[in-house]
Amino acid sequence: MSVNMKCYDTTPCIRCFACMVGCSVENRLRLQRENHIGIEKSVQGRLTHLSHLSPQRRELGTFPNSRQVTAFHHCNHCEDAPCLEICPVDAIIRREGKEVVVVQDRCIGCSSCLDACPFDVPVIKNGKAYKCHGCYDRVENGLKQSCVNSCPSGAMFSGTKEEVLEEAHKRAELYTKKTGKEHVVYGANKVNGTVGELRWITIVPKEDLEAYKLDTDPKKLAMSAREAVKVVGAVGSVAIVAGSIGHLIYWLGKRKEKISKGEVEEK
């Protein structure tokens, strides 16, 4: 499988938040499908930890030379994902399409990933880490990511790395030509030694990189300090890991049962 990539293009985006609501709803669907929590129950709660894409709004400049800018806060599925490297129990894995995914069954909620992430992405809720999983369940079954599928204006698109980069560079070039301002594809090339390339890239006017909080040198000091903890943590967690594997086997069995039952009902 080739590398999956998502791109957010700030130009056609109408800031309608469909992508963000889409993310939240799809995760509630998963709660119903995997955890038997009906959506009629889950919509009674905010479940902020299941919104893996959120807006960060602020105003820049002073009136009348002013504007509001909405930064998109999300996991970038880094090539050199520090969260994955630091996780003491290997609860963070890379899928075949290179999505960086927290396996909740293994996660011990130690916050290492949060400390390591230079983009401050993972959140810890009820002893587990949560962040964007790239909708790998959808993608591996031939569907687009929920945020991409939700976007009404063509501001989010996805595909293989090659397809997405080609389209992104084409768009950036057109915008540069039309506006006379250089547009760049943030994350298309290695950003720095900490994160490498990104698999969630952004088309943006170069002068607005900072406005959209697109860090050109993302770093986390805590990363090195945590290195030591990782070793200790891993040893201490053997029992938990074993337990998790046991749970996984049990869960897989349940899954099969559930699926076949579902089919029977559907007929």
Partner: protein, 851 residues
């Protein structure tokens, strides 16, 4: 893994989505989710009703629940917004009304008891039947908004015998838009306005080079299918825009977007300055004006009307049509336009003999516009609007460089000021002068599919309240006879032309949604019975005697739909995805139950018996068999009814055209029918005649500019805008937890004022403030303030419909809505725009004080 299952009715557009999920190899690893998981999802084609636009969507049903909404890509502009995706939050909102309720306390107190459907329906029907038997069916008004019985509900009430089916569009698209657009493009009878409201045209964003977002922000606030989609496509193709708005909206883009931070209520001045620049800099094509418009028409200076006209026959699309021919000037003297269309003079003063041989002083229409616009220089406009003259000139130049692939937006929910009509008239004139109408990248007519009638009701014998008002109320001669809910309120209060005794509201929140909330609430107290059909709580349901719990769009089948704000004629249908929650019922069931109880056996047999036997197919067949309004080729390509019902959305072709129905057949940049009405009112000494002056003038101002007094330190001009996750005043977005994280990040519960102005008043971010209208000081809103750099200095901005407002008693029924907040309608006096009876929603000032 097992094989994927599918329902038969999921063929067509829907099947492609399911198909994509089916048959893919499964990949087992940490979490095994396979194609089979997606395969067992049921897909149902729906038309979203989180707002009014009915964007085609696909609902996913899993284990008996709707779990997802996504765009139906069966149309070229398939797209839905965040509200639609959050529809599951509204459908499964635990605070929904799911049982029939009857009032127990005083009217408006909001105390109800649960009753059975039989009890509620019998109560309502008994009253309706008694009034009908008395011969007073006209005293019942039906006021639909979010009806769940579209195609049948209005027919039922006409059948019942009331002429008063009262539309809500006077607050939105039904007042000044049709009059202004009709003045230039025809299709309007001035005694009874009908026709081109918001749905008439669309900007061709996809191919536009430059656009002026004024009066509405299509970027995100409403109408994802197709405007949100086409706007995005346009931006992707390099469309550039300027936003003329007192507040800079993010939906229009956040990088490299020009912003003209205009003072609220001064759009007309900006447009006059723009017109001045366009006409004095010759930013138009002579050929275009001569060919398409009446720029060369000779106007009699004494009457303001064309000096000589005659009726002639002309061939148009193989048919003989009668048009009005008019005098033009040529080098060899005056003649009729039809005699020498190529060489008319566009400018100049002339003396012409009329039919009676009298000599008349005349000017060409374009010369008149040019002469009258002279005082309104960009420098003049800059003073009124607080913009810079250079910016207005730049916008005119950009329009000229882009024309005809350019547009000025024309407003939405835009009955805001007394002079709304004038603003929209100027917008229509400027678009016409630039040649934007019908052009690729300009502004084009929308298509629609028309159907056979599901209910063919005879015309009620009584005259409707609106038709009476048009004839007898000198203040509202241009009232729209279809959309007049606030004029209806006035009739409730005055009992003219006759008494109103029952109001039947369907998904309509007249108190929260229109100007003069407190007066409207007072009027409702006069009625003998109020029925509300609604799944959601709002201000108006609190005044009901009976509340019937409505199904949401995900819980009902509907009649076929053929009307979207799209250049492509489109055909689709909303299908039921899941059973209604609790005891709620869909609208057709409700209407059928009322019909059984109220109509005569004969009437019931003729109109409803078939539905009673076979259900919705009774209506669908009638509708489908009577399809018209599309080209022959398009009609031939419409799929069979069963495919439409299976979820296929059909779309026709994009036609680059604009419908022009003027008597002259020209785009009348000098609007002659308006000129006639203006002359008539002027001769009668009507105080508001200037509001329909066909020529540029600034003598017909919004109420807020009439006194000429400067705003005081603590005084602001309130404006509202939709949040992309907010909709009309109601529970579906206000109480929806799927939106809360985002709307809070956007401070949607605050009012926004300019930081510098706020600091002068000693305000800080998050301060609690009271807001009141000095002319209606008994109603006070308590809310939070956000100091902002992106609102103009005179402005108080708030998001519409995301907080309860001053009349917040209904929020006691809603778990996730805080008491208080700001709804500008609550603070308004019960005023009307002159002549059209429109809804001057923002034409007042407010004062702000810290609590």
């Amino acid at each position: 893994m097992g094989k994927t299952t599918r329902r038969d009715f999921l063929k067509g557009g829907v099947a492609t989505i399911v198909g994509a999920a089916a048959g893919m190899p499964s990949k087992a690893s940490a979490k095994v989710v396979t194609s089979a998981d997606f395969g067992r999802e049921k897909k149902v084609s729906v038309l979203c009703r989180m707002c009014a636009q009915k964007c085609p969507a696909i609902a996913t049903v899993l284990d008996g629940r709707v779990v997802r909404l996504e765009p139906n890509m069966g149309t070229p502009y398939g797209a839905i917004c965040g509200r639609a995706i959050g529809a599951v939050g509204a459908t499964y909102d635990k605070d929904r009304i799911t049982k029939p309720l009857m009032r127990v306390g005083k009217r408006g107190e909001g105390k109800f008891k649960e009753v059975s459907w039989g009890e509620a329906l019998d109560f309502v029907s008994k009253k309706l039947k008694a009034l009908r038997d008395e011969g007073d069916a006209k005293s019942v008004a039906y006021l639909p908004r979010f009806s769940s019985a579209g195609g049948v509900d209005k027919g039922f009430f006409h059948l019942y015998g009331t002429p008063n089916v009262v539309g809500y569009g006077d607050t939105c698209f039904g007042a000044s838009l049709p009059v202004s657009f009709g003045a230039v493009m025809g299709g309007t009878k001035f005694s009874a306005v009908s026709g081109p409201g918001t749905s008439a045209v669309s900007a061709d964003h996809e191919f536009a080079k430059y656009g002026v977002l004024i009066q509405r922000n299509v970027g995100g606030a409403l109408v994802c299918h197709p405007w949100g989609k086409t706007f995005g496509l346009g931006k992707k193709n390099g469309m550039e825009i300027v936003v003329v708005d007192p507040r800079k909206p993010s939906e229009a883009g956040e990088s490299l977007v020009d912003w003209a931070p205009i003072k609220p209520g001064t759009d007309e001045a900006f447009l006059l300055g723009l017109l001045h620049e366009i006409l004095t800099k010759n930013y138009y094509s002579i050929d275009h004006l001569r060919k398409k418009t009446n720029a060369d028409m000779l106007i009699d200076l004494e009457t303001g009307l064309p000096v000589v006209t005659r009726k002639i026959k002309k061939m148009k699309k193989g048919k003989t049509v009668e048009i009005e021919d008019y005098y033009i000037q040529t080098d060899s003297g005056p003649c009729f336009k039809s005699q020498n269309p190529e060489l008319s003079k566009l400018f100049g003063d002339y003396e012409v003999e009329d039919e009676l041989g009298d000599t008349k002083k005349c000017k060409t229409a374009l010369q008149m516009l040019l002469d009258e616009v002279q005082p309104f220089t960009p420098e003049w406009a800059a003073k009124v609007t607080t913009l810079k003259a250079e910016q207005i000139k730049k916008i005119a130049k950009r329009l000229n460089d882009a024309k005809p692939a350019c547009f000025l937006e024309r407003g939405y929910r835009s009955e805001r000021y007394a002079n709304s009509l004038r603003e929209k008239l100027l917008i229509t004139q400027i678009n016409a002068i630039l040649g934007a109408y019908g052009a690729k990248g300009g502004v084009i007519s929308n298509g629609k599919v028309k159907f056979g009638k599901a209910i063919k009701a005879p015309k009620p014998k009584d005259i409707s309240i609106a038709k009476w008002i048009v004839k007898h109320d000198p203040n509202k001669p241009l009232l729209n006879v279809k959309f007049y809910r606030r004029a209806w309120v006035e009739a409730v209060l005055s009992e003219k032309p006759y008494k109103q005794r029952v109001a039947f509201f369907w998904g309509q929140n007249i108190i929260g949604g229109s100007v003069g909330s407190t007066k409207i609430a007072e009027a409702l107290k006069k009625l003998e019975m109020i029925v509300c059909v609604s799944p959601y709580w709002n201000e108006t349901t609190m005044y009901a005697d009976v509340i019937l719990p409505d199904a949401t769009f995900l819980e009902r089948d509907e009649c076929l739909n053929g009307k979207w704000k799209s250049p492509l004629a489109t055909l689709g249908v909303n299908r039921k995805a899941v059973e209604p929650l609790g005891e709620s019922k869909d609208g057709y069931w409700i209407i059928n139950q009322l019909a059984k109880r109220v109509l005569s056996d004969l009437e019931y047999e003729e109109h409803f018996a078939e539905y009673d036997k076979i259900g919705m197919m009774a209506f669908w067949k009638k509708q489908y068999d009577g399809i018209h309004g599309v080209t022959k080729a398009e009609k031939a390509s419409i799929p069979p009814l069963k495919d439409i019902l299976a979820g296929r959305v059909w779309a026709g072709k994009k036609h680059y055209k604009i419908k022009c129905k003027t008597k002259t057949g020209k785009w009348e940049i000098y609007p002659t029918e308006l000129a006639k009405k203006y002359k008539e009112l002027k001769e009668a000494g009507h105080k508001d005649a200037e509001y329909i002056n066909p020529l540029p003038t600034f003598n017909a101002k919004p109420f807020i500019l009439q006194s000429g007094v400067e705003l005081e330190n603590d005084e602001f001009l309130p404006i509202t805008g939709f949040h992309p996750l907010g909709t009309f005043t109601g529970q579906q977005t206000m109480n929806n937890l799927l939106f809360k994280d985002i709307t809070e990040e956007n401070h949607a519960d605050c009012v926004f004022i300019n930081r510098q102005r706020g600091e002068k008043l000693g305000l800080r971010d998050g301060d609690k403030v009271q807001i009141y209208n000095p002319k209606l000081s008994k109603v006070i809103s308590t809310t939070k303030v956000k100091l902002s750099e992106v609102v103009q200095k005179d402005t108080l901005f708030s998001y519409y419909g995301l907080t309860a407002g001053a009349l917040d008693r209904f929020s006691e029924n809603l778990s996730h809505v805080q008491k208080g907040g700001f709804n500008s309608n609550h603070l308004t006096q019960f005023l009307f725009s002159p002549l059209t009876g429109g809804n001057p929603a923002q034409d007042f000032t407010v004062k702000v004080r810290r609590v």
